[in-house]
């Protein structure tokens, strides 16, 4: 399986853009949503899907090889934007947790938080692999000697 950093960057940007379009912090929109439970759930589910897709994309970074200066630059950009959007997800979660009825939206809030937590975990994991694990020559040669 091969994937280019630039491809991940483009996909990541598209997902972040689609998320921003569905900005859930809009007070007015949330107030309208409160009247219609089903209408609230739809964008939340969409956001959870976006976070999950971003999460998978981020771990895909570890399947790519950093070969050029541009790759390095793109990688830095991916981690930077991922951290920024993660903070935004957390703010959104806090906002929703405060505003939504806990009983009515218990399940979706739980899914939202899990998706955000998984995403944070992936950022840390991918960053650790690319900046620490890949530089461990002892480990690399051990792995290469197995098969």
């Amino acid at each position: 399986m091969t994937i280019a950093i630039t491809e991940i960057k483009t996909k990541s940007d598209k997902l972040i853009y689609s998320y921003k379009k569905d900005n859930l912090s809009d007070d007015e929109r949330i107030n309208q949503f409160l009247d219609k439970i089903l209408e609230i759930r739809k964008p939340l589910q969409r956001t959870i899907k976006t976070i999950n897709k971003l999460d998978d994309l981020l771990l895909l970074v570890t399947w790519a090889d950093v070969k050029t200066k541009q790759d390095k630059k793109d990688l830095k950009y991916i981690f930077k934007t991922a951290k920024i959007i993660h903070k935004k997800f957390l703010v959104d979660y806090a906002f929703l947790h405060k505003r939504l009825n806990k009983k009515l939206f218990k399940e979706i809030l739980f899914d939202f938080k899990n998706a955000v937590d998984d995403f944070e975990d992936s950022i840390l994991e991918a960053e650790n692999v690319m900046s620490v694990v890949r530089k461990d020559k002892k480990m690399m040669s051990l792995i290469n000697s197995i098969f």
Partner: protein, 154 residues
């Protein structure tokens, strides 16, 4: 696709499922490994630690708890022979609850990989497969079994 467990992996797995909070681990594992395609296993929740994409790789794979996120779930450490679609499970730990750890200590990780290397050389690995609930399974649930003896692993 072929699946192999090391003795260490089975030992850890058995210790983990002793805890009430982890009793569903076998089901979670079946859902995320045995019921997925090779590509799905690699492309979702898996990070390549080292190795290469076309031959063999060492990966860390997240196993989510059923009806929950992957963060509070489990981390499995797998060696993969990509061209033969062979997956060798060498270690697993929960991220939360009993026997949890954030990640495997790097010295311990190297020890486990070296042990795997020698076990592989000696062909001491256990080939496993899925016994579906529908396939005359007396427990009426999906189970992981030893491919040779047909006995349940857990």
């Amino acid at each position: 696709m072929e699946f192999y467990f090391t003795e260490r992996f089975i030992d850890e797995f058995k210790k983990i499922i002793k805890a009430k909070e982890h009793k569903n681990l076998e089901n979670c594992f079946i859902e995320e490994i045995f019921k997925k395609t090779f590509d799905e296993i690699l492309k979702t929740g898996a990070s390549r630690q080292s190795g290469d994409n076309n031959n063999s790789a060492y990966i860390k794979k997240r196993i989510g708890k059923l009806n929950s996120g992957k963060r509070g779930g489990y981390r499995s450490y797998i060696m993969i022979l990509i061209k033969n679609k062979e997956l060798y499970f060498i270690f697993i730990h929960p991220k939360a609850g009993r026997r949890s750890m954030v990640k495997l200590d790097s010295n311990e990780e190297q020890k486990i990989i070296k042990k795997f290397k020698s076990e592989k050389k000696l062909k001491n690995l256990i080939r496993v497969e899925l016994l579906n609930a529908a396939d005359n399974n007396p427990d009426k649930t999906d189970k992981i079994i030893n491919s040779e003896t047909k006995h349940c692993i857990f």
